[in-house]
Homo-oligomer: 171 residues x 2
DNA sequence: CCGAATCCGACGGGATACTG
DNA sequence: CAGTATCCCGTCGGATTCGG
């Protein structure tokens, strides 16, 4: 873990890998080389590997429920039981299985941890809680909407591609 | 599938559920009710449940490698071995584990099935193959870039939120 | 009503060996 | 080099139960 810094320079390992990256590609196309350089710069400076923030966020959102939950929260605060009812009614609309209480709680916790939503609890009896988007979360929901819209507007195209692919062997 | 919407009979079940949706929410705020209606319309017409196209695409992209692979393919065609080398070098940059050949193949297949990339194979010996984005795939990559950029530009904020959350009990 | 704890099945993804 | 088949393990998500 806490190893001494290598004798020569702090980013020696990185530099070396970047050189390897260039060597690993046979690019006779200078334009593409420039593109790759741009991407590598992003990758090296900010990270896009399997444990980088973008991938972790994609993983968080890439589950069964997050798109729906966050989109719903975009309309305003929800109490957990409300949220669960609505989510499950929508699930039924698509003939899908409902979300369990446990999973809903886990999801909400993880959003809260990343600062996307804020949890408010009143110490009454019975207890009352609500969840609402933070400004950061609202921003995220807008970004998600980009993919949601894209998916919806291209779904026929994608469906056609799937159909073509699945029938390719049977021609 | 894409049937006309008769006012009464065919979508009776749906209508019923939509009514339930309204009943499930205690909204004294008319503005929010309008927002919810808008979302419900999208949800009901196009689907946003757990098995809808948007969620399935989010799930496809929400794995360990897709963001990186598709971003790289955005620079031009790759041979599998090239792609794997580059991906793994980048993984090492982030001190992550490499991608296995099997998983890379599985991922590429799934992208191909949805029409995001095109596979070209020459029946030579040794074999040669390459993968390149389709127009649809290029469009998708641009959309992904939206989330990637968002993640990168907010990562400090998110990191701070995580830190605050994890220390909340220890104040 | 909110949510934590426990048990369990399903699936993603890694290592390895093998074919063309 | 490209791809498949097998095996294995860790994690995710669902059902249920219990506590505040």
């Amino acid at each position: 873990m806490a190893r001494r810094t290598p004798p020569q320079s702090a980013s020696r390992g990185k530099d070396h890998l970047v050189e390897e990256l260039h060597a690993a590609l046979v690019t006779d196309d200078p334009q593409r080389a420039a593109l790759l350089d741009a991407i590598l710069k992003v990758v090296v400076d900010h990270g896009l590997g399997p444990e980088s923030p973008p991938v972790e966020i994609m993983q968080l959102l890439g589950d069964k429920w997050s798109s729906l939950i966050l989109t719903l929260l975009g309309t305003g605060p929800f109490r957990p039981s409300e949220l669960r009812r609505v989510v499950n009614l929508i699930s039924r609309l698509g003939n899908s299985t409902p979300i369990s209480q446990r999973v809903l709680t886990v999801k909400l916790r993880s959003y809260e941890r990343l600062g996307f939503i804020q949890r408010t609890a009143w110490p009454t009896m019975p207890p009352r809680t609500d969840y609402r988007l933070t400004p950061l979360g609202r921003d995220l929901v807008n970004t998600i909407a980009g993919i949601v819209d894209w998916s919806l507007s291209h779904k026929d195209e994608i469906t056609a591609a799937i159909h073509a692919y699945d029938h390719a062997g049977a021609d």
